[in-house]
């Protein structure tokens, strides 16, 4: 408050200065007038005193008619250089003695002038009575020069000039003060801007730090998931084989099924880990999200239980998104589960679709600027507390009880959305609810491929046995179970642990090899390099890549979707895919050289 007042006072300073200058000028004028009056009165006094002295001394001279003495008295006034002329008049007003500095007394009055003082431009004239015992004996007249008016005005002018200069100095000071104030304001603004920039930079650094942390966790996760996938491939593959070969003991079958379910859950988990690490092998194609949601509604209701209701609001004429439909389904399930958990007392979950444009992102999980197809999942639940909002996308972060959530749901959502080229926008109000919008890129109009084509293709091949297969995998367990599955289907299998060994067999056995089944990630030579070299030796050789995770850039640039199989896989899937690739029409027509 005091500061505010002070600041207002500072702002008034120029006005005060100008006012003060005007006041000073006025004071100067008054001073000059006063000076002038004082000067006149002082001058009159001075000359009157002189005249009175003459009048007092001249009494005897007048009384006793001593003209000589009277003349001496007036002459004595010549000692004062300012006195120009003087005269003594007798009782009858006749001039009795006169003195003039110029010598000529004739211009002096011949008759006694009226008593009093008169101030002219450059002279003072004083007439005083000569008194003795109250009786008037005559008149003394004294005429004195004064400082000429012009000179006096000049003198006052100098004072005035000083005043004006003082005023100018004040005005200049005021102006300087004003400039200083403005500079001060600019500095304050600059400081504020700087503070803002520092804050923003801090935010950006925090975000970067978080992103780096997530990236590091992602790499770790990806490595673990890869190894886990191989283990699960071996476990599930062997369980699969065991189930096929089993004699039918019901108890054992239950145990095998239980082990298989556990293995499947492990596979799902590694899938999510890979999704978060953005190492998921994504099979993007144009997807009609409205249809996808309609198809999964029943499944969602079953998953979420009876406590919550699902409301869908699907935008008509929705453009297609370029996405992996199975991953999108998983995203929606994850978001729906989170929404349900935010509604402990039940309620509705709203799943919407739409399209919208976005500006530059303000948070790391948000999509780059552009147009997107959007799936949003909203609840009217508890909302996310502000201290938690920044962390919800971090992997393994969960507010749920131990064992209830993996902490990977939202990580999967963001990981997949970003890997697809989109992002996620989170809107939450504590106590009001949360909306998560998944933004997916638009599919190019030319892309005509649809979910059905895949389905048709998958249903086409029938198992074919008796082919010679070359199996390459650096993991002995995975290789063993894969070989077992293939042999079970009636194929002859060459097993090799690396690319060099595989090429040797290709050279040795030549045209005997019908299909190459290769792991992608191997030490020394990866699956794609091996495939290239093998095809150089055996042009048109069909290849099936089995892969733990998405070395997508290398792989998808080379292999067609049907040429890859993700670990862990079931025996049936492997056999069907091999059969598909062995069908000459399918394989030969599209194999790139």
């Amino acid at each position: 408050m005091r500061f505010l007042d002070l600041r207002r006072l500072w702002a008034l300073i120029p006005a005060i200065a100008i006012g003060a200058a005007a006041a000073l000028l006025l004071a100067g004028v008054i001073l000059a007038l006063n000076n002038e009056r004082a000067y006149r009165s002082q001058k009159i006094n001075e000359i009157t005193v002189q005249a009175r002295i003459v009048a007092a001394t001249a009494t005897a001279a007048i009384t006793f008619d001593d003209r000589t003495a009277a003349q001496e008295y007036v002459n004595s006034l010549s000692a004062n250089p300012e006195i120009e002329a003087a005269a003594i008049f007798d009782e009858n007003g006749r001039r009795y003695a006169a003195y003039s500095r110029k010598g000529d007394v004739s211009p002096l009055p011949h008759e006694a002038p009226p008593l009093g003082a008169e101030f002219g431009d450059d002279r003072v004239v004083v007439a005083t009575p000569v008194l003795q015992n109250g009786a008037r004996l005559g008149t003394v007249y004294v005429e004195s020069t004064t400082e000429p008016l012009a000179r006096r005005i000049e003198r006052y002018g100098v004072v005035g000039l000083l005043v004006v200069m003082a005023s100018l100095v004040m005005v200049v000071l005021a102006a300087a003060h004003r400039v200083m104030n403005r500079t001060n304001a600019e500095l304050t603004q600059a400081n504020k801007d700087l503070q803002t920039q520092i804050t923003e930079r801090q935010k950006a650094e925090d975000a970067l730090g978080r992103a780096q942390r997530i990236e590091a966790v992602g790499q770790l996760t990806a490595g673990v998931a890869h190894d886990f996938n191989n283990l699960l491939t071996a476990v599930l593959g062997n369980l699969d084989m065991l189930a096929i070969r089993h004699d039918g003991d019901a108890r054992s079958m239950r145990m095998i099924a239980s082990a298989q379910r556990a293995g499947q859950r492990g596979a799902k988990l590694t899938g999510q880990l890979l999704a978060f690490a953005r190492r998921q092998r994504l099979e993007s194609r144009p997807v009609d999200l409205n249809r996808l949601i309609e198809n999964m509604e029943t499944m969602l209701r079953a998953t979420l239980g009876g406590g919550v209701d699902i409301v869908t609001a699907l935008s008509p004429n929705l453009p297609r998104a370029l996405a992996d439909p199975s991953q999108v389904e998983l995203m929606i399930v994850n978001l729906a589960i989170n929404a349900r958990d935010a509604l402990p007392d039940g309620g509705a979950i709203r799943v919407e679709t739409g399209a919208a444009g976005f500006g530059p992102p303000s948070r790391p999980e948000e999509p780059p600027a552009g147009e997107y197809v959007i799936v949003s999942v909203s609840d009217t639940g508890t909302g996310i507390p502000p201290d938690v909002v920044d962390r919800v996308f971090e992997p393994f972060f969960t507010t749920k009880e131990v064992g209830k959530g993996s902490g990977l749901g939202l990580s999967q959502v963001v990981g997949v959305a970003q890997q697809l080229g989109g992002g996620v926008q989170l809107e939450t109000r504590p106590g009001e609810g949360t909306t998560v919008r998944v933004c997916l890129p638009l599919a190019p109009h030319s892309a005509a491929m649809d979910v059905e084509t895949e389905a048709v293709r998958e249903g086409a091949p029938s198992p074919v046995g008796g082919a010679a297969l070359l199996l390459v995998d650096d993991d002995a367990e995975v290789r063993a179970v894969t070989a077992a599955m293939l042999r079970e289907a009636g194929h002859a299998v060459f097993e090799v642990s690396d690319g060099a060994g595989a090429l040797e067999i290709v050279r040795r056995e030549g045209g005997k090899i019908d299909l190459l089944v290769s792991d992608f990630a191997m030490p020394g030579m990866n699956g794609v390099e091996l495939a290239r070299k093998a095809r150089a030796l055996l042009p048109g050789l069909p290849v099936l890549f089995i892969t733990g995770f998405a070395e997508t850039a290398a792989l998808s640039g080379y292999a067609r979707p049907e040429e890859t199989l993700r670990k862990p896989f079931l025996s049936r899937d492997l056999v069907e895919r091999v059969a598909l690739l062995l069908t000459p029409d399918e394989a030969g027509a599209t194999t790139p050289q």
Binding site: A60, I62, D65, D66, A69, N92, N133
Partner: protein, 194 residues
Amino acid sequence: MVVLIRLLRARSAGARRMLAAALALTVPLAPLSADAQAGPVEYAVKATYIYKFAPFVEWPSAAFPSTSAPLSICVMRAGELLGVLERAVSGQKLGDRPIVVRSVDRLEADRACHILYVGSLDGETRAETLAGARGAPTLTITDGATDPAAKGIINFVIDKNRVRFEIDDFSAAENGLVISSKLLRLAVSVRPRA
């Protein structure tokens, strides 16, 4: 001149006073002829001077019984001057003091004379008379005396056809009188006090 004299003789007191005053200032302007020893103008001037000396002289306070006691001008053998003086003084005051003019033949111990004009006495008698006034608070005035012993404190002389005076400040001091410096300045000669 004739007009002035006639006017001086006029019956009206006011007119006389006015004339006397006018004479005091205007008449002396007319130069006096060297031989006009006892001319009427000269009398008029001298008569006026006699009472006009009063403001320039300070008597000891003991010389007056009260502050309003009259100032006595004693005239001895003044001839025509007496009449002129009486007329000039008539109604005049020195401050609160009325001015009275007495004609005396000799000094009287019980009647004080503040101003004593000694007229045409022979030198010896005059000197005696003056000696008689010595030590008393009396301003003695003589006319045209040349013998120092016969000169009063103020002695009229004719200087350049004008009535002027000599002042014996020494004797004034002896009589307890203080004469104003203004008056002293106008004197043709001053015998300074001791």
